[in-house]
Point group: C2
Chain length 436, copies 2
């Protein structure tokens, strides 16, 4: 802080209730944060001489071929629903409350496996494209590696992500437990359209069925139009070959569509004239609505956001400045706007969006905030470039219903939750999950 | 291929020597690759029934808390210059010839350590900002985590990257061995300007000295102007906390500047009126030129590109279509253009640049190519938005000199090589490093 400790600059004036500060305070030069940080850094006229810690006095460890996080970060892991690999599906959730930025490192990308992690030999794996095509084709990994490729950032989200939010009482759980089935990476591979141009398409084809090579043989029906849009046969994830839990050696990537449709270990694409009505489309992802009707083919992961800092599992160390930040994304395109409230939705201020804002990818939003030490309720709400808005909880529950707590984590109709998440900060800096 | 195997679409016509195809063949729909791929995929009228491999018939392995690459990718590692951790520096190089896209996964980000990997306890680590400031400050990791943050993609490159290219004879080595001391990640942290606004700056301050907490206590002088521009105290790398080899728990990030200046394990920033002339600026990175003069303060990593696919270590499996791709970057800003030649520089065609093209970050370029099976020489040449162009080898050697092969990997004056890399493909598909 400066010696006088006073605020400088108009933009540090609050712009919404409970201390939200204009996002322009984050942008460009000439906006001084000096004075906002009281109690954060420590003034140190006696900063010299610095003391030497043990690691400043001795040779360190060997530089390894594959580097891994510090031992002081061993709590930063995916949480597992099936650590003993019993004969059912396994979820591994991304620890959003411990991450920042927009890229999910490969080690922490979420993963759901229905019959364990297959150990696929890439030299023996094949992808067949057949059915209503003019010329069926079979591709090896090596063959696909010669085709024209594209790279793009894309989020992947399980349709069941945030299912605990269907509970009629707020579960006390972290952003990882509530929202850990979404991640974002740079994917590189061959556009499906490139391969379909090669096989040719029978005019009768309207859908394709994608099937995985693991023993679950997961299959999903996808509109052929998506196949000619931005569908990709992904071979690389953040630069390296796919992780086994993310579909090694190849997966279908359908940016913005429900994770389960992005078939991993992809071995077959069959062009057909009608959807197969496989288990996941006929049962799991056909959400039953309060009036007894059901959604059919609810593919899109709709506009959504949640605050990761601060969030459940954190505690604030006294009043003063904090940055509120979180993740926003939409399967329909780019995020256009994120509004943040510190008073449970009574007033909102617009958050800064970290550039570049890419379509169907994570956008990090940031909001400067001065906490006065009183209880507050933080929440975020996102809009996408299509004009879609994240629904309030009241709107969402009216349309989609809720269940008695605690809900099954992945039972229907608990799919495609995209309403707000609210974190209540108490006077001691503790964080609770609330509905507001 | 289509049944008739003919090329469709004007844009598959060659646009430069030895089979380079117009980059627009990669963009958008309606451009058919059918027919271009002869001999790549395998036509398969009998694609059904698919045979089941072992992994399609049994339960797979447990889903782990931290996922790691498939055992079939165990060759994808950093190569080490000092695997026994002898008392000298250690280099770990990124395997660019095995990667794609633009993000370097954290496990494979290059690293140079001068006294091994320090085991720093983040709760005990401190960053002091002192010297010609109005109010010295000391920051803990936890304190910095409350400040406004930014995220950005940025490449980091050792000033000695590509030093083997100073050899007067082309060394037969992979892109990893030649150029593996550059990587690219999304970095998240606090802008240094935010902290300097807090400490205040004495008008006499013109430089700052950054010092690391490892036992090497590496220190470098940086113009204060850079500190107020895009310098960052980075805390996160691709979403998670920094890798130990990349500066955990915090490093200085100076986008576009020589890697050595991006001080890791950062513990001190001292504002001063003149540079310290530490070892790295007075000796190592003051390149001696052929005329006996030397560069002083050669901070910028200049515009550069190299082809990663195909490259040394690969072999082409017969004539037909291939995608040529590689990496381009410039410390001065965005890549504007990459030209690719398949005839050793006699003719060039413009490569497609993968969007988004971000400043001071990797840009992946892609060039469609039909190889006729005859010997060719591939090379790439990049331009940045400032109009800077990657020099030809003749231009570069005239200005900077060369040494008798083999050169020391990191001795001066072998720094800041940014000329072209040429790969010769022989009639058997073998790849050699040549000067052209």
């Amino acid at each position: 802080m400066t010696a006088n400790g006073r605020l400088r600059g108009r933009s540090l004036e609050p712009v919404a209730g409970n201390g939200l500060i204009d996002r322009r305070a984050l942008i460009g030069r000439g906006i001084a944060f000096a004075g906002a940080m009281t109690g954060v850094g420590v003034t140190g006229a006696a900063a010299e001489p610095l003391t030497d810690a043990p690691w400043s006095r001795e040779m360190g460890a060997v530089t390894p071929a594959l580097q891994t996080p510090s031992r002081f970060e061993k709590h930063v892991v995916r949480t597992l629903s099936n650590p003993d690999n019993e004969f059912r599906n396994s979820h591994a959730r991304t620890p959003h409350h411990l991450l920042n930025g927009t890229v999910t490192p490969n080690s922490l990308h979420f993963s759901i496996n229905h019959s364990g992690l297959p150990d696929i030999d890439p030299d023996r794996h094949r992808l067949a494209i057949h059915g209503l095509v003019k010329q069926p084709m079979v591709y090896t990994v090596e063959a696909l590696s010669r085709y024209p490729m594209v790279s793009r950032m894309a989020f992947l989200e399980c349709g069941g992500n945030s299912a605990p939010m269907f509970s009629n009482e707020p579960l006390q759980a972290s952003a990882q437990a509530l929202h850990g089935l979404v991640s974002c990476a740079e994917w590189t591979g061959v556009k499906l359209s490139t391969l379909l141009e090669e096989t040719g398409v029978d005019p009768a084809a309207k859908w394709f069925i994608a099937e995985g090579a693991d023993s679950h043989a997961l299959s999903r029906s996808v509109p052929l139009k998506k196949g000619f849009d931005d569908a990709m046969i992904a071979l690389y994830q953040n630069g390296e070959r796919l992780m086994p839990g993310n579909g090694y050696p190849m997966r279908l990537l359908l940016p913005g569509y429900e994770g389960n449709m992005n078939v991993k270990f992809l071995r077959r694409i069959k062009l057909v004239d009608a959807p197969a009505m496989s288990m996941y489309e006929a049962r799991t992802y056909s959400q039953i609505l309060p009036d007894g009707k059901a959604y059919r083919f609810y593919f899109l992961q709709e506009v959504k956001s949640f605050i990761t800092h601060p969030s459940f599992g954190h505690s604030l160390k006294g009043p003063g400045f904090y940055e509120i930040s979180g993740i926003a994304y939409s399967g329909a395109g780019r995020i256009a706007k994120v509004m943040v409230s510190a008073d449970g939705g009574k007033s909102y201020a617009e958050a800064a969006l970290q550039a570049p804002v890419l379509p169907k990818a994570f956008t990090r939003f940031r909001m400067p905030w001065r906490w006065d030490g009183q209880p507050v309720v933080l929440q975020s709400r996102a809009w996408d470039e299509g004009g879609n808005v994240q629904p309030t909880r009241a709107e969402f529950v009216a349309l989609r219903g809720e269940t008695k707590a605690p809900p099954p984590l992945l039972g229907f109709p608990n799919q495609h939750y995209n309403s707000l998440t609210s974190w209540a900060i108490d006077a001691n800096g503790g964080v609770k999950h609330v509905y507001a």
